[in-house]
Protein backbone atom coordinates (compact mmCIF):
# COMPACT_ATOMS: atom_id res chain seq x y z
CA UNK A 1 0.00 0.00 0.00
CA UNK A 2 2.87 2.39 0.80
CA UNK A 3 4.27 1.98 -2.69
CA UNK A 4 0.95 2.84 -4.28
CA UNK A 5 0.60 5.97 -2.16
CA UNK A 6 4.16 7.00 -3.00
CA UNK A 7 3.30 6.68 -6.68
CA UNK A 8 0.12 8.68 -6.26
CA UNK A 9 2.08 11.38 -4.47
CA UNK A 10 4.39 11.63 -7.48
CA UNK A 11 1.48 12.02 -9.89
CA UNK A 12 -0.12 14.59 -7.58
CA UNK A 13 3.05 16.69 -7.60
CA UNK A 14 3.16 16.52 -11.39
CA UNK A 15 -0.42 17.73 -11.57
CA UNK A 16 0.74 21.20 -10.58
CA UNK A 17 3.71 21.38 -12.92
CA UNK A 18 3.67 23.30 -16.17
CA UNK A 19 2.94 21.03 -19.16
CA UNK A 20 5.96 20.06 -21.26
CA UNK A 21 3.96 19.39 -24.41
CA UNK A 22 2.81 21.89 -27.04
CA UNK A 23 -0.32 21.79 -29.18
CA UNK A 24 1.49 20.64 -32.27
CA UNK A 25 -0.12 21.88 -35.47
CA UNK A 26 -0.70 25.31 -33.93
CA UNK A 27 2.52 25.57 -31.94
CA UNK A 28 5.99 24.39 -32.88
CA UNK A 29 8.98 23.71 -30.67
CA UNK A 30 12.08 25.60 -31.83
CA UNK A 31 14.50 23.62 -34.00
CA UNK A 32 18.16 23.31 -33.04
CA UNK A 33 20.55 25.43 -35.17
CA UNK A 34 22.13 22.21 -36.44
CA UNK A 35 18.82 20.54 -37.18
CA UNK A 36 19.03 18.20 -40.14
CA UNK A 37 15.94 18.53 -42.29
CA UNK A 38 15.76 17.57 -45.95
CA UNK A 39 18.72 18.66 -48.11
CA UNK A 40 18.40 21.83 -50.18
CA UNK A 41 20.56 23.75 -52.62
CA UNK A 42 22.03 27.19 -52.07
CA UNK A 43 21.84 30.17 -54.42
CA UNK A 44 24.81 32.40 -55.14
CA UNK A 45 23.35 35.90 -54.98
CA UNK A 46 26.50 37.55 -56.34
CA UNK A 47 26.31 35.80 -59.70
CA UNK A 48 22.63 34.83 -59.64
CA UNK A 49 23.24 31.12 -60.16
CA UNK A 50 23.37 28.04 -57.92
CA UNK A 51 26.61 27.20 -56.11
CA UNK A 52 26.26 23.66 -57.42
CA UNK A 53 28.38 22.79 -60.46
CA UNK A 54 26.86 19.34 -60.86
CA UNK A 55 30.01 17.39 -60.02
CA UNK A 56 27.97 14.40 -58.79
CA UNK A 57 30.02 13.79 -55.64
CA UNK A 58 26.84 13.88 -53.53
CA UNK A 59 25.12 11.42 -55.86
CA UNK A 60 28.09 9.05 -55.61
CA UNK A 61 28.27 9.09 -51.81
CA UNK A 62 24.55 9.06 -51.08
CA UNK A 63 23.86 5.77 -49.23
CA UNK A 64 20.40 5.43 -50.73
CA UNK A 65 21.20 6.83 -54.19
CA UNK A 66 18.36 9.32 -53.99
CA UNK A 67 20.22 12.11 -55.82
CA UNK A 68 20.41 12.51 -59.60
CA UNK A 69 22.63 15.26 -61.04
CA UNK A 70 23.87 16.31 -64.45
CA UNK A 71 26.06 19.26 -65.42
CA UNK A 72 26.33 21.59 -68.41
CA UNK A 73 28.63 24.34 -69.68
CA UNK A 74 28.05 27.61 -67.89
CA UNK A 75 27.08 30.40 -70.31
CA UNK A 76 27.92 33.02 -67.69
CA UNK A 77 31.54 31.78 -67.67
CA UNK A 78 31.88 32.74 -71.34
CA UNK A 79 30.50 36.21 -70.53
CA UNK A 80 33.05 36.47 -67.75
CA UNK A 81 30.39 37.11 -65.10
CA UNK A 82 30.93 33.78 -63.33
CA UNK A 83 34.01 31.80 -62.32
CA UNK A 84 32.18 28.49 -62.67
CA UNK A 85 33.09 26.72 -65.91
CA UNK A 86 30.33 24.16 -65.45
CA UNK A 87 26.97 24.53 -63.76
CA UNK A 88 24.23 22.20 -62.60
CA UNK A 89 21.80 21.30 -65.36
CA UNK A 90 19.44 18.84 -63.70
CA UNK A 91 19.22 18.10 -59.99
CA UNK A 92 16.67 15.85 -58.39
CA UNK A 93 16.32 14.42 -54.89
CA UNK A 94 13.82 11.72 -54.09
CA UNK A 95 12.80 12.82 -50.60
CA UNK A 96 11.01 9.51 -50.08
CA UNK A 97 14.36 7.74 -50.34
CA UNK A 98 16.47 10.33 -48.47
CA UNK A 99 17.55 9.18 -45.00
CA UNK A 100 18.70 12.67 -43.91
CA UNK A 101 22.23 11.52 -43.07
CA UNK A 102 23.93 14.76 -44.25
CA UNK A 103 26.67 12.85 -46.08
CA UNK A 104 25.95 14.93 -49.21
CA UNK A 105 26.70 18.09 -47.23
CA UNK A 106 29.87 16.55 -45.85
CA UNK A 107 31.34 15.51 -49.20
CA UNK A 108 30.30 18.60 -51.21
CA UNK A 109 33.40 20.52 -52.31
CA UNK A 110 31.51 23.68 -53.21
CA UNK A 111 29.34 24.19 -50.10
CA UNK A 112 26.39 24.05 -52.46
CA UNK A 113 24.09 21.74 -50.53
CA UNK A 114 22.79 22.19 -47.00
CA UNK A 115 20.49 20.38 -44.60
CA UNK A 116 17.55 22.78 -44.46
CA UNK A 117 14.91 23.14 -41.76
CA UNK A 118 12.27 21.50 -43.97
CA UNK A 119 10.76 18.49 -42.25
CA UNK A 120 7.00 18.69 -42.67
CA UNK A 121 6.91 17.44 -46.21
CA UNK A 122 3.78 15.32 -46.30
CA UNK A 123 2.22 15.02 -49.73
CA UNK A 124 -0.61 13.05 -51.26
CA UNK A 125 1.30 11.07 -53.87
CA UNK A 126 4.73 9.53 -54.10
CA UNK A 127 5.61 11.53 -57.21
CA UNK A 128 5.39 14.79 -55.28
CA UNK A 129 8.20 13.59 -53.01
CA UNK A 130 10.65 14.07 -55.87
CA UNK A 131 12.10 17.57 -55.62
CA UNK A 132 13.61 19.24 -58.69
CA UNK A 133 16.23 21.97 -58.94
CA UNK A 134 13.80 24.87 -58.52
CA UNK A 135 12.15 23.42 -55.46
CA UNK A 136 15.50 22.56 -53.89
CA UNK A 137 16.74 26.12 -54.44
CA UNK A 138 13.50 27.43 -52.99
CA UNK A 139 13.96 25.20 -49.93
CA UNK A 140 17.53 26.43 -49.52
CA UNK A 141 16.61 30.13 -49.45
CA UNK A 142 17.86 31.69 -46.22
CA UNK A 143 19.54 28.49 -45.07
CA UNK A 144 23.17 29.57 -45.63
CA UNK A 145 23.67 29.95 -41.90
CA UNK A 146 23.18 26.21 -41.47
CA UNK A 147 26.20 25.32 -43.56
CA UNK A 148 28.60 23.23 -41.49
CA UNK A 149 32.07 24.69 -41.53
CA UNK A 150 34.51 21.82 -41.46
Amino acid sequence: MIGLLKGLNTTLKTLFRRPVTVQYPDEHLPLAPRYKGFPALLWDDNVQEPYCVGCQVCARYCPTECITVTMKDNTKFKDGTSTRKKIVDFFQIDMAKCIVCAICVEVCNFDAIVMSDAHEESVFSRGEMVADLNRLLEMGRGQEKKLRKS
Binding site: I2, G7, A32, P33, Y35, C101, E106, S150
Partner: protein, 373 residues
Protein backbone atom coordinates in the same frame (compact mmCIF):
# COMPACT_ATOMS: atom_id res chain seq x y z
CA UNK B 1 -19.48 -44.27 -17.76
CA UNK B 2 -16.47 -43.08 -15.78
CA UNK B 3 -14.24 -43.35 -18.82
CA UNK B 4 -16.63 -41.22 -20.81
CA UNK B 5 -16.64 -38.50 -18.15
CA UNK B 6 -12.84 -38.44 -18.08
CA UNK B 7 -12.73 -38.23 -21.83
CA UNK B 8 -14.91 -35.18 -21.75
CA UNK B 9 -12.33 -33.37 -19.53
CA UNK B 10 -9.43 -34.22 -21.80
CA UNK B 11 -7.74 -30.99 -22.74
CA UNK B 12 -5.80 -30.19 -25.84
CA UNK B 13 -3.00 -27.67 -26.09
CA UNK B 14 -3.95 -24.47 -27.81
CA UNK B 15 -1.79 -22.63 -30.29
CA UNK B 16 -1.74 -18.88 -29.86
CA UNK B 17 -0.16 -16.58 -32.38
CA UNK B 18 1.25 -13.44 -30.82
CA UNK B 19 2.46 -10.68 -33.10
CA UNK B 20 3.94 -9.56 -35.44
CA UNK B 21 1.83 -6.43 -34.94
CA UNK B 22 1.37 -6.82 -31.20
CA UNK B 23 2.33 -3.56 -29.44
CA UNK B 24 4.19 -5.37 -26.66
CA UNK B 25 6.61 -7.13 -28.98
CA UNK B 26 8.62 -3.89 -29.42
CA UNK B 27 8.67 -3.98 -33.17
CA UNK B 28 7.74 -6.74 -35.51
CA UNK B 29 8.27 -10.00 -33.69
CA UNK B 30 6.03 -13.05 -33.68
CA UNK B 31 5.78 -15.77 -31.04
CA UNK B 32 3.80 -18.93 -31.53
CA UNK B 33 2.78 -20.01 -28.04
CA UNK B 34 1.51 -23.46 -27.23
CA UNK B 35 -0.58 -23.14 -24.12
CA UNK B 36 -2.10 -25.64 -21.76
CA UNK B 37 -4.78 -23.71 -19.95
CA UNK B 38 -3.00 -20.65 -18.57
CA UNK B 39 0.49 -22.13 -18.77
CA UNK B 40 2.88 -21.86 -21.66
CA UNK B 41 4.17 -25.27 -22.75
CA UNK B 42 6.29 -24.25 -25.70
CA UNK B 43 7.21 -21.10 -27.54
CA UNK B 44 8.46 -20.68 -31.06
CA UNK B 45 9.91 -17.22 -31.80
CA UNK B 46 9.81 -16.00 -35.40
CA UNK B 47 12.17 -13.20 -36.36
CA UNK B 48 13.18 -11.56 -39.59
CA UNK B 49 10.31 -9.15 -40.24
CA UNK B 50 12.68 -6.20 -40.01
CA UNK B 51 15.54 -7.78 -41.94
CA UNK B 52 17.19 -5.20 -44.17
CA UNK B 53 20.36 -7.07 -45.02
CA UNK B 54 22.62 -4.55 -43.29
CA UNK B 55 25.63 -6.86 -43.29
CA UNK B 56 25.40 -7.37 -47.03
CA UNK B 57 24.68 -3.69 -47.65
CA UNK B 58 27.87 -2.81 -45.76
CA UNK B 59 29.95 -4.69 -48.32
CA UNK B 60 28.84 -2.33 -51.07
CA UNK B 61 29.09 0.95 -49.16
CA UNK B 62 31.95 3.29 -48.35
CA UNK B 63 33.09 3.43 -44.74
CA UNK B 64 31.60 6.91 -44.54
CA UNK B 65 28.17 5.59 -45.46
CA UNK B 66 28.23 2.55 -43.18
CA UNK B 67 28.05 4.73 -40.06
CA UNK B 68 24.59 5.82 -41.18
CA UNK B 69 23.57 2.16 -41.58
CA UNK B 70 24.72 1.34 -38.05
CA UNK B 71 22.39 4.03 -36.70
CA UNK B 72 19.52 1.96 -37.93
CA UNK B 73 20.45 -1.31 -36.24
CA UNK B 74 19.55 -0.63 -32.65
CA UNK B 75 17.68 2.58 -33.25
CA UNK B 76 17.19 3.32 -29.55
CA UNK B 77 20.94 3.48 -28.92
CA UNK B 78 22.42 4.70 -32.20
CA UNK B 79 25.51 6.34 -30.70
CA UNK B 80 26.72 3.08 -29.16
CA UNK B 81 26.40 1.26 -32.48
CA UNK B 82 28.28 3.95 -34.36
CA UNK B 83 31.01 3.75 -31.74
CA UNK B 84 31.57 0.02 -32.28
CA UNK B 85 32.05 0.49 -36.00
CA UNK B 86 34.30 3.54 -35.88
CA UNK B 87 36.51 1.89 -33.24
CA UNK B 88 36.85 -1.15 -35.51
CA UNK B 89 37.95 0.98 -38.46
CA UNK B 90 40.28 3.05 -36.27
CA UNK B 91 41.94 -0.12 -34.97
CA UNK B 92 42.60 -1.35 -38.50
CA UNK B 93 43.98 2.02 -39.55
CA UNK B 94 45.92 2.56 -36.35
CA UNK B 95 44.47 6.01 -35.72
CA UNK B 96 44.87 7.79 -32.41
CA UNK B 97 41.62 9.61 -31.69
CA UNK B 98 41.96 13.08 -30.08
CA UNK B 99 41.09 13.03 -26.40
CA UNK B 100 38.30 15.57 -26.68
CA UNK B 101 36.58 13.41 -29.29
CA UNK B 102 36.80 10.40 -26.98
CA UNK B 103 35.15 12.34 -24.19
CA UNK B 104 32.42 13.63 -26.51
CA UNK B 105 31.77 10.07 -27.60
CA UNK B 106 31.53 8.81 -24.04
CA UNK B 107 29.15 11.61 -23.02
CA UNK B 108 26.91 10.91 -26.00
CA UNK B 109 26.97 7.14 -25.45
CA UNK B 110 26.10 7.42 -21.78
CA UNK B 111 23.29 9.90 -22.43
CA UNK B 112 22.11 7.45 -25.03
CA UNK B 113 22.21 4.67 -22.44
CA UNK B 114 19.99 6.71 -20.13
CA UNK B 115 17.58 7.47 -22.98
CA UNK B 116 17.50 3.79 -23.89
CA UNK B 117 16.88 2.63 -20.33
CA UNK B 118 14.15 5.25 -19.97
CA UNK B 119 12.59 3.78 -23.06
CA UNK B 120 12.81 0.36 -21.38
CA UNK B 121 11.25 1.73 -18.23
CA UNK B 122 8.42 3.25 -20.26
CA UNK B 123 7.70 0.11 -22.24
CA UNK B 124 8.13 -2.23 -19.30
CA UNK B 125 5.68 -0.26 -17.21
CA UNK B 126 3.18 -0.37 -20.06
CA UNK B 127 3.77 -4.11 -20.46
CA UNK B 128 2.97 -4.64 -16.80
CA UNK B 129 -0.23 -2.65 -17.21
CA UNK B 130 0.83 0.83 -16.07
CA UNK B 131 0.48 3.60 -18.64
CA UNK B 132 1.58 6.54 -16.47
CA UNK B 133 5.30 5.58 -16.28
CA UNK B 134 5.39 5.75 -20.06
CA UNK B 135 4.58 9.44 -20.01
CA UNK B 136 7.04 10.20 -17.22
CA UNK B 137 9.90 8.41 -18.92
CA UNK B 138 9.19 10.07 -22.24
CA UNK B 139 9.18 13.48 -20.62
CA UNK B 140 12.73 12.88 -19.40
CA UNK B 141 13.84 11.15 -22.58
CA UNK B 142 12.62 14.11 -24.62
CA UNK B 143 15.16 16.39 -22.90
CA UNK B 144 18.00 14.05 -23.83
CA UNK B 145 16.72 13.88 -27.40
CA UNK B 146 16.82 17.66 -27.69
CA UNK B 147 20.44 17.65 -26.54
CA UNK B 148 21.14 15.09 -29.26
CA UNK B 149 19.39 17.34 -31.75
CA UNK B 150 21.51 20.30 -30.69
CA UNK B 151 24.74 18.29 -30.96
CA UNK B 152 24.25 16.07 -33.98
CA UNK B 153 21.29 17.66 -35.73
CA UNK B 154 19.10 14.59 -35.46
CA UNK B 155 17.06 13.11 -32.67
CA UNK B 156 17.53 9.45 -33.52
CA UNK B 157 19.65 8.80 -36.62
CA UNK B 158 22.61 10.90 -35.61
CA UNK B 159 25.41 9.97 -38.03
CA UNK B 160 27.71 11.97 -35.75
CA UNK B 161 30.74 9.77 -35.10
CA UNK B 162 33.40 9.60 -37.75
CA UNK B 163 36.45 7.45 -38.20
CA UNK B 164 39.04 9.38 -36.21
CA UNK B 165 36.69 11.44 -34.05
CA UNK B 166 33.36 13.17 -34.43
CA UNK B 167 32.09 15.28 -37.32
CA UNK B 168 32.04 18.57 -35.44
CA UNK B 169 32.60 19.99 -31.99
CA UNK B 170 29.89 20.38 -29.38
CA UNK B 171 27.66 23.45 -29.80
CA UNK B 172 28.69 26.51 -27.74
CA UNK B 173 25.68 26.24 -25.42
CA UNK B 174 26.36 22.58 -24.58
CA UNK B 175 27.74 23.30 -21.11
CA UNK B 176 24.67 25.35 -20.14
CA UNK B 177 22.35 22.71 -21.50
CA UNK B 178 24.06 19.97 -19.52
CA UNK B 179 24.09 22.05 -16.34
CA UNK B 180 20.32 22.26 -16.66
CA UNK B 181 19.80 18.72 -17.90
CA UNK B 182 21.72 16.70 -15.30
CA UNK B 183 19.81 17.87 -12.18
CA UNK B 184 16.55 17.51 -14.12
CA UNK B 185 17.43 13.97 -15.13
CA UNK B 186 18.44 13.08 -11.58
CA UNK B 187 15.11 14.30 -10.35
CA UNK B 188 13.30 12.65 -13.20
CA UNK B 189 14.88 9.25 -12.61
CA UNK B 190 14.03 9.55 -8.93
CA UNK B 191 10.43 10.35 -9.82
CA UNK B 192 10.28 7.36 -12.14
CA UNK B 193 11.67 5.24 -9.31
CA UNK B 194 9.07 6.54 -6.85
CA UNK B 195 6.27 6.02 -9.27
CA UNK B 196 6.79 2.39 -10.17
CA UNK B 197 9.44 0.61 -8.11
CA UNK B 198 7.50 0.45 -4.86
CA UNK B 199 4.16 -0.28 -6.49
CA UNK B 200 2.81 -3.52 -5.00
CA UNK B 201 0.98 -4.56 -8.17
CA UNK B 202 4.10 -4.04 -10.23
CA UNK B 203 6.22 -6.01 -7.76
CA UNK B 204 3.73 -8.86 -7.89
CA UNK B 205 3.92 -8.85 -11.69
CA UNK B 206 7.72 -8.74 -11.90
CA UNK B 207 9.25 -10.50 -8.90
CA UNK B 208 10.08 -14.15 -9.44
CA UNK B 209 8.78 -14.06 -13.02
CA UNK B 210 10.96 -15.25 -15.90
CA UNK B 211 13.99 -16.18 -13.80
CA UNK B 212 17.15 -17.61 -15.36
CA UNK B 213 20.27 -18.88 -13.63
CA UNK B 214 23.65 -17.31 -14.25
CA UNK B 215 25.02 -20.52 -15.79
CA UNK B 216 22.12 -20.77 -18.24
CA UNK B 217 22.36 -17.10 -19.11
CA UNK B 218 26.05 -17.45 -19.95
CA UNK B 219 25.35 -20.57 -22.01
CA UNK B 220 22.77 -18.70 -24.05
CA UNK B 221 25.20 -15.84 -24.65
CA UNK B 222 23.13 -13.33 -22.71
CA UNK B 223 24.88 -10.05 -22.03
CA UNK B 224 24.40 -6.57 -20.67
CA UNK B 225 21.90 -5.71 -17.93
CA UNK B 226 20.11 -9.03 -18.47
CA UNK B 227 23.24 -10.98 -17.57
CA UNK B 228 24.13 -8.68 -14.70
CA UNK B 229 20.66 -9.25 -13.28
CA UNK B 230 21.72 -12.89 -12.76
CA UNK B 231 24.57 -11.71 -10.55
CA UNK B 232 27.36 -11.89 -13.11
CA UNK B 233 29.54 -8.78 -12.94
CA UNK B 234 30.39 -8.56 -16.61
CA UNK B 235 30.60 -5.20 -18.29
CA UNK B 236 32.80 -4.60 -21.32
CA UNK B 237 33.44 -1.06 -20.13
CA UNK B 238 35.34 -2.74 -17.29
CA UNK B 239 36.48 -6.11 -18.58
CA UNK B 240 37.72 -4.93 -21.98
CA UNK B 241 37.80 -1.14 -21.61
CA UNK B 242 37.63 1.06 -24.68
CA UNK B 243 37.67 4.82 -25.22
CA UNK B 244 38.26 6.72 -21.93
CA UNK B 245 36.25 4.42 -19.67
CA UNK B 246 39.31 3.28 -17.66
CA UNK B 247 39.77 6.82 -16.33
CA UNK B 248 36.17 7.16 -15.19
CA UNK B 249 34.77 6.00 -11.89
CA UNK B 250 31.48 4.10 -11.96
CA UNK B 251 29.88 1.06 -10.37
CA UNK B 252 28.38 -1.93 -12.10
CA UNK B 253 25.02 -2.78 -10.58
CA UNK B 254 24.03 -6.44 -10.43
CA UNK B 255 21.02 -8.44 -9.37
CA UNK B 256 20.70 -11.83 -7.73
CA UNK B 257 17.85 -13.91 -9.06
CA UNK B 258 17.85 -13.04 -12.75
CA UNK B 259 14.11 -12.43 -12.83
CA UNK B 260 12.19 -9.55 -14.41
CA UNK B 261 12.44 -7.54 -11.22
CA UNK B 262 16.24 -7.76 -11.13
CA UNK B 263 16.50 -6.87 -14.79
CA UNK B 264 14.41 -3.78 -14.06
CA UNK B 265 16.38 -2.78 -10.96
CA UNK B 266 19.74 -3.18 -12.70
CA UNK B 267 18.65 -0.78 -15.42
CA UNK B 268 17.31 1.77 -12.94
CA UNK B 269 20.65 1.79 -11.15
CA UNK B 270 22.59 1.89 -14.41
CA UNK B 271 20.90 5.15 -15.32
CA UNK B 272 22.30 6.74 -12.16
CA UNK B 273 25.75 5.35 -12.89
CA UNK B 274 25.60 6.69 -16.43
CA UNK B 275 24.78 10.13 -15.05
CA UNK B 276 27.86 9.84 -12.85
CA UNK B 277 29.96 9.05 -15.90
CA UNK B 278 28.51 12.00 -17.84
CA UNK B 279 29.26 14.37 -14.96
CA UNK B 280 32.85 13.17 -14.70
CA UNK B 281 33.39 13.25 -18.44
CA UNK B 282 32.13 16.83 -18.73
CA UNK B 283 34.40 17.89 -15.87
CA UNK B 284 37.48 16.20 -17.34
CA UNK B 285 36.91 16.97 -21.02
CA UNK B 286 39.93 18.78 -22.46
CA UNK B 287 39.95 21.35 -25.25
CA UNK B 288 41.41 20.52 -28.61
CA UNK B 289 40.61 19.06 -32.00
CA UNK B 290 37.71 16.63 -32.40
CA UNK B 291 39.00 14.64 -35.36
CA UNK B 292 42.38 13.09 -36.04
CA UNK B 293 44.30 15.24 -38.56
CA UNK B 294 45.38 12.39 -40.85
CA UNK B 295 41.81 11.28 -41.57
CA UNK B 296 40.47 12.24 -44.98
CA UNK B 297 36.82 12.41 -45.95
CA UNK B 298 37.01 9.19 -47.93
CA UNK B 299 38.61 6.61 -45.65
CA UNK B 300 40.90 3.95 -47.08
CA UNK B 301 41.54 1.03 -44.75
CA UNK B 302 44.56 -1.31 -44.99
CA UNK B 303 44.20 -5.06 -45.30
CA UNK B 304 43.35 -6.88 -42.10
CA UNK B 305 40.60 -8.03 -39.80
CA UNK B 306 39.46 -6.95 -36.38
CA UNK B 307 36.77 -7.75 -33.83
CA UNK B 308 35.58 -4.96 -31.59
CA UNK B 309 32.92 -5.12 -28.94
CA UNK B 310 31.34 -2.35 -26.92
CA UNK B 311 28.83 -2.23 -24.12
CA UNK B 312 25.59 -1.25 -25.77
CA UNK B 313 22.60 -0.51 -23.46
CA UNK B 314 21.40 -3.99 -24.36
CA UNK B 315 24.69 -5.78 -23.89
CA UNK B 316 27.66 -6.93 -25.87
CA UNK B 317 27.55 -5.36 -29.34
CA UNK B 318 30.31 -6.67 -31.57
CA UNK B 319 31.60 -5.81 -35.03
CA UNK B 320 33.84 -8.15 -36.98
CA UNK B 321 35.38 -6.23 -39.83
CA UNK B 322 37.46 -7.71 -42.64
CA UNK B 323 39.16 -5.35 -45.04
CA UNK B 324 40.94 -6.31 -48.26
CA UNK B 325 42.21 -2.75 -48.57
CA UNK B 326 40.37 0.02 -50.40
CA UNK B 327 37.42 2.18 -49.50
CA UNK B 328 34.84 -0.54 -48.89
CA UNK B 329 34.95 -3.40 -46.37
CA UNK B 330 35.09 -7.00 -47.52
CA UNK B 331 32.82 -8.29 -44.78
CA UNK B 332 31.08 -6.80 -41.75
CA UNK B 333 29.66 -9.26 -39.25
CA UNK B 334 27.51 -7.82 -36.50
CA UNK B 335 26.92 -9.47 -33.16
CA UNK B 336 23.64 -8.11 -31.92
CA UNK B 337 23.12 -8.09 -28.17
CA UNK B 338 19.34 -8.23 -28.50
CA UNK B 339 19.55 -11.28 -30.75
CA UNK B 340 21.39 -13.38 -28.17
CA UNK B 341 19.20 -12.07 -25.34
CA UNK B 342 16.08 -12.97 -27.27
CA UNK B 343 17.27 -16.55 -27.71
CA UNK B 344 16.73 -17.16 -23.99
CA UNK B 345 13.02 -16.61 -24.48
CA UNK B 346 12.26 -20.31 -24.95
CA UNK B 347 13.85 -21.04 -21.59
CA UNK B 348 12.32 -18.04 -19.81
CA UNK B 349 8.77 -18.69 -20.93
CA UNK B 350 8.69 -22.39 -19.99
CA UNK B 351 5.85 -22.99 -17.53
CA UNK B 352 5.15 -19.29 -17.41
CA UNK B 353 1.61 -17.89 -17.41
CA UNK B 354 0.34 -16.39 -20.65
CA UNK B 355 -0.27 -13.11 -18.85
CA UNK B 356 3.43 -12.94 -17.88
CA UNK B 357 4.66 -13.56 -21.38
CA UNK B 358 4.53 -9.86 -22.29
CA UNK B 359 6.31 -8.87 -19.08
CA UNK B 360 9.14 -11.36 -19.69
CA UNK B 361 9.59 -10.20 -23.25
CA UNK B 362 9.53 -6.58 -22.14
CA UNK B 363 12.11 -7.21 -19.44
CA UNK B 364 14.61 -8.47 -22.02
CA UNK B 365 14.48 -5.03 -23.68
CA UNK B 366 14.96 -6.13 -27.27
CA UNK B 367 15.12 -3.91 -30.31
CA UNK B 368 14.10 -5.76 -33.43
CA UNK B 369 16.25 -3.59 -35.67
CA UNK B 370 19.29 -5.21 -34.10
CA UNK B 371 17.81 -8.72 -33.92
CA UNK B 372 16.96 -8.90 -37.61
CA UNK B 373 19.66 -6.55 -38.90
Amino acid sequence: MKMEAEKRFDTVDMMLNMGPQHPSTHGVFRMVLTIDGEKIVAVEPHIGYLHRGTEKLCEGEYYLQIVSLFDRLDYISSFNNELAFVIAVEKLMGIQVPERAEYIRVIMCELNRIASHLMFYAAFGADAGAITPFLYAFREREQIQSVFEAVSGARMMHNYFRVGGVIEDLPPDFGDRMNKLIPKLKQGIQECDDLLTGNEIFIARAKGVGAISAADAIDFGMSGPNLRACGVLEDIRRSEPYSVYPTLDFDIPAGQNGDCWDRYMVRMEEMRQSLRIVEQAIAEMPQGPVIAPQVRKIVKVPKGEVYVRVENPRGDFGVYLISQGGDKPYRVKIRGASFCNLMTLKKLLQQCYVADCVVVLGSLDIVLGEVDR
